[in-house]
Amino acid sequence: MESFIESLCRSYKVFAPVKKGVEYSFERISTARDLHLEYTTTILPPKKFFTPPRETIFTFQGDETSRIEDLIPEEKQILLGIHACDIASFNFLDRVFLGFRSDPRYLRRRNNFLIFALTCKEVSETCFCQSMGTGPEVSSGYDVLMTDIGGRYLMEASSNEGNALMQSLGLQQATLEDLEAKRGCLENLKGQFKRSVDRTGLVELAYNSQEHPVWKKYGSICLACGQCAMVCPTCFCFDVKDRMDISLKSGERYREWDVCLLLEFAEVALGGNFRKSRDARLRQFICHNLSYGVMQYNLMKCVGCGRCIKACPVHIDITEIARELREVMS
């Protein structure tokens, strides 16, 4: 495994989970020693590679604006060690940024990356991908899938590029027993989930939940800090701003992640605000994840990664809200 990673690092920029304090983060690695494939989840999801937290839309100098090719060079890179939930998030983001209109920035960044998925080794406290139908098995959306089958990695390619890369490395042929071992790993994972969401009729249920007391209950403790949306792998909202150089002749237009939990998010001219209350903002975040996303993209926005649960300073839990939504309104 080590020599395999080293050889990837020689030919590509490789981004993978590394240890960051007590947490993990997707960062550039230059050697196999940086890599921590036993990670459970990262602080920020891998969306940051396709739609960075702050990204230049264009720079301008007088009437001249920059070209995307200059801002985002074409360069094959590898995103390695991506779990099933995050792999599923790419599908959702693709529909947002390449569906109705194609954003060439997202497209360029997305195409720059080969995706090496990784079968999880363990299920963490906050994971619920199984109930969202996005994991623990990675079934599509990757170039190469890696599974630790006990000291050795089973490598499966699902794209021509992934296949060619594996061929070039001269790996040992996998056996039927290896595939069987992978199945065993998955079965083992499936029994470990502590959290789940019942998706039966959930889209309708959340859609019709406007008056449900659950929003007041959790809205009253929500700090509206927006961490849940910042760490969400499918939250895509951004604000657009301009910055002028001190010369006042050139500058840039950039976008940066914005979240619906913040007061200013739904503000309009003359101080109007369509989501003034925290109840309403929390409801927007949760209902987008459990309901509206399906109506917009025919795909559940929530992939069950559990990051929002982990990040919430007041322990608001989307799986608990989904459960309470089923309780009859009093």
């Binding site: 604000d239 914005d258 309009v268 369509f274 917009q296």
Partner: protein, 278 residues
Amino acid sequence: MKDPYARDVAEILEVHTETHNTKTFVMRFLDKERQRNFSFIPGQFIVISIPGVGEAMFSISSSTSNHENFATTIRKVGRVTSMIHKCGVGDKILVGGPYGSGWPMGQLEGKDILIITGGIGLPSPRPVITYINEHRNDFGFLEILYGTRTPDESIFAREQEAWRKMKNTRLALTVDYVPEGVQWEHKVGVCTILCEEMVTKPRNAVALICGPEVMMHNVVVELLNRGFHEDQLYLSLERRMRCGIAQCGHCQLGPKFVCKDGPVFKYSEIKNLPDSYI
């Protein structure tokens, strides 16, 4: 691939002062092909952008049959609109669009058209009025009910006389209050009081409503009470927008993107959605 975030340079040809805080800007794309290909449906909007300051969305207020130039009518309310208001003839700005759905022009032919608008809501249905005027025999009765806060906030004042003189057309005005010493020969009261003397009957009518959301809510209630069906009412909504192409996420209204699925919606599509007054 055309970058949807790119903007095109347009030159300001004319500036008309509508009120103390509202101006109409007539523009033309510098790129001749862009100008030639620029067509829109009444009710669609554009983005106007000033590098270094920012950009914002505005309804197109000019006629759809004019391919030489286009116009938008802007009230000064914030940073971007204040900067646009400083622009004059010959200045260059950046423009993108058009975006969004427009008024349901296909549904309007042969119908009586009732336009109810408030304040800075009038620019959106103005191209509908112009279109009806240009194809007067294709439509039934046209009734325009327009409310503003004060008499001097009424926009397109120079055109209102022409609208009054249009065949088979009625224009009625109201203001919330009349400041002392100001002459006003029309109604006083919120927009819905114009519904009391409304001539349009529900039977063969379509209502186009654009204004502050609370006003639109009250108008909808009034029209439903007067026998209009939900599917006869169309509303143009306002939301914060940063992209116009359903990517920035700001304009979400339940499962709808106001920029892509709207801004014009049939009432039945958006009633009962959260975070709106409708």
